[in-house]
Every structure is written in structure tokens, then in C-alpha cells.
Symmetry: C2
Subunit: 186 residues, 2 copies
DNA sequence: CTTGACAATAAACGAATGTTCATTTAATAT
DNA sequence: ATATTAAATGAACATTCGTTTATTGTCAAG
């Protein structure tokens, strides 16, 4: 039996996020995606049941990704301030480096097609680390959702600013990290 | 000569944000929007040159809106902690109350069609107030963009959480306000 | 080798897309 | 009253949409 070409599935995945970044969700048709992937539109339906299914699948695959990246660079052994510094910097770098992926996840996440795709914000392991820092008296005992909010959301603003102003964004990120540290550390 | 029916322009505007909230950007066609507005598809082109133009126009009209609302409830006379409390609560309430508008602005803002629609984040007057609080030694002298980031972005996370958990969101918002106050006030 | 299973595609599908146009409707000015 | 103007629209435009089908190509098991 002939085997499915994993490279082809990957091409399609990459084409999806690329086309959506360049043209927007409303213009990301199966044909355009297929062309960008170097594949026939019909081939898409070998790998996915429908367009909606494809978007949902890719969303789920990518949405958890950032947490794995963060986990690879973080551990409970770090002092609290270093932990926050690393956390925020890694998240910032991820957004910059995987711009297409991040944009797709943000865009698709706020669209009715994604309702039902339940993505846990901050998977178990990372959540545990945060709560352990709280038990150790390093992090303030805020609602864990608020901890997540402070660690993730302000950085998005810094990224957006960096796309408009270009040069001063490094200093802005450094300052933001300090603000977050002051807010979360005991 | 027959006059333009301003109610019709408004119907279209409302239909745009409503359809996009319910069906997503990629499914918001001119026909669906027209139907939701109780209008012929051709009528849309009496008021707007093209679909893209329509979306851009409505985006610009709505994007500045939140800042006007905030200005109406804020003044330099308040103590710093009250100012932040009001600011964040008004923003939160705006997102909840005008869910469709907020969703449309967020969604369209992250789509290539909006590149070029220059929306100033935080119009002059509100920016002045923030900087005056800094000169008065009430707010920390952080980059004004970081002040904006802290005032706007974490609240978005709280709203998202509130859509999943329902009940505990009031306490979460109260706590978030305290965190922001501690972070920004001297 | 042969054969069978499945990947891959070109071609075609009806439905829907954004937009235009000829026409009708209704408000104003004469 | 009536002519004038532009709003409003239904019907049609070419194009593109997402998807299916029929056919071909290719690899792995027997």
C-alpha cells in the first residue's frame, strides 16, 4: 500500500498559516493554500475531511506549541525573577520568530470555527510550576488565571508596538519585564 | 431629490459586526450582511465603494470609539488608584456590553485589510492625562506604551476567562485591578 | 513479478462570491 | 402638477468557492 507523504501534510500546514498571514482568513481559500503548498486542491482532501476540519486540526496542533517551547526553557530551579525574565523573553521571541503561526492561532482562536476546539491555556506542567512558586512564597497568591494574564498579554502589546516603531522595542521589553516582575513577585 | 436614509447606513454597520461575530470574517459575505441589514446587496454599494472599503470604514469608525467612552468617565481630578479602577472597569464593561463591536475591531485589526488604516492607540487627550499623572508623581515613569499595555491587555484575558468560567470573574477582575494599581502607581 | 490498495491529481460540480446595471421608487425643486 | 435627481433594488455578471468523481501513478505485501 502506498504511504502518505508526511512532507506533504507539513507543506499544507505551513501554507495555511502563511496564506492567512499574507491575505487574511477571509481570502484563504483551499485553492490558494494548495497552490502555496505545491499541491492539488484535491490532495488537501486526502489529508483533511473538509476545510473547516483542516483549520481546526492545524489550530489544535499549533495552539499548544508555545507551551512546549516555554517548558523547554523553564524550570522550578530558577530564582523567581529569572523565571519571569526567561518566560517573557521566550514568549516574545516565539511571537517574533513564528510570526505566521502566532498570527494564525490568534486569528482563528477568535472565530466561531474554533469554538469547541478546547485548548487548555497553560498545560498541566507549566501550571504546576507556577503554583509551586506560589507555595514557595516566591509568586504572590493571585488567581492563577491572573498570573497567566500578566505573563502573556502585556507582551503581545509590546510586539504590536515593535512593529510600528522598530528601534526602541528592546528597551520597552526590558522595562515591561521589570514591571511584571514587580507585580508578580513577593 | 431623494435623501439617503441614515438608518440604512446604520443597519449595515450593525449587520457587519453582528454577522462577523456569529459567522467569522471568512463567512461574512456581502449577501449575508445585506440580508441581516434588511437591505439588497446592491444597496451596500450605494454607501460603500467596495466590501473592503466598507470593512475599513466601519473599522475606523469603531476603533476609536472605546477611547471616547473612556474619556467620558475619566478625568485628571481623580486620585490615581480611582483613575485606574475606573479605567479598567469601564474598559471591561465596554468589552462585555459591545461584544460584537469589540470582536470586530480585534478581528479586523489583525488582518491585512486593516494595514494602512492608521488607528492611534489612545488619542491625544487620554495620553495627555496619563503623562500628567506621571508628571505629578502619581504614575511611574514607564514608557507610555507600557502604561497603555498594562491598562488594556490584561483585561482582555479576564474577559476571555469570564466566558469560560462565568461566576468567579468579578473577583478576578477586582484582583486584576489591584495588581495593575500596584504595578503602575508610585 | 504481480497485484491490490491508496496517494495524487485533473476535471468538473453546484453553490456562493463580489460587483454591475437597467429599472423602479420616492423625495425635492420648479 | 411635473420634471429632476438620486436612493434602492432584482436580476444577472464573471469568477471563485469548497468539494466530489474518475483516472492515473506508485509503492508495498504476497
Amino acid at each position: 500500500m502506498r504511504r502518505k507523504d508526511d512532507g506533504k501534510r507539513d507543506s499544507i500546514k505551513k501554507a495555511v498559516v502563511q496564506v492567512i498571514l499574507e491575505q487574511g482568513m477571509h481570502a484563504a481559500s483551499v485553492s490558494k493554500i494548495a497552490k502555496a503548498a505545491g499541491v492539488s486542491p484535491a490532495t488537501v482532501y486526502v489529508y483533511y475531511e473538509s476545510k473547516d476540519d483542516m483549520l481546526r486540526d492545524i489550530y489544535i496542533e499549533y495552539a499548544e506549541n508555545i507551551y512546549k517551547v516555554l517548558l523547554n526553557h523553564l524550570s522550578i530551579d530558577m530564582p523567581g525573577d529569572i523565571f519571569i525574565d526567561r518566560f517573557v523573553r521566550e514568549y516574545y521571541q516565539y511571537i517574533i520568530e513564528y510570526e505566521e503561526v502566532f498570527h494564525f492561532v490568534e486569528q482563528f482562536g477568535g472565530c466561531p470555527l474554533s469554538h469547541g476546539c478546547h485548548i487548555l491555556k497553560g498545560p498541566e506542567r507549566l501550571n504546576d510550576i507556577l503554583m509551586q512558586y506560589q507555595r514557595l512564597g516566591v509568586l504572590n497568591n493571585y488567581d492563577i488565571k491572573n498570573i497567566w494574564a500578566m505573563l502573556l498579554y502585556p507582551v503581545k502589546a509590546v510586539v504590536k508596538d515593535s512593529k510600528n516603531s522598530e528601534s526602541t522595542s528592546q528597551k520597552q521589553l526590558d522595562e515591561m519585564i521589570m514591571i511584571i516582575q514587580k507585580a508578580l513577585l513577593k
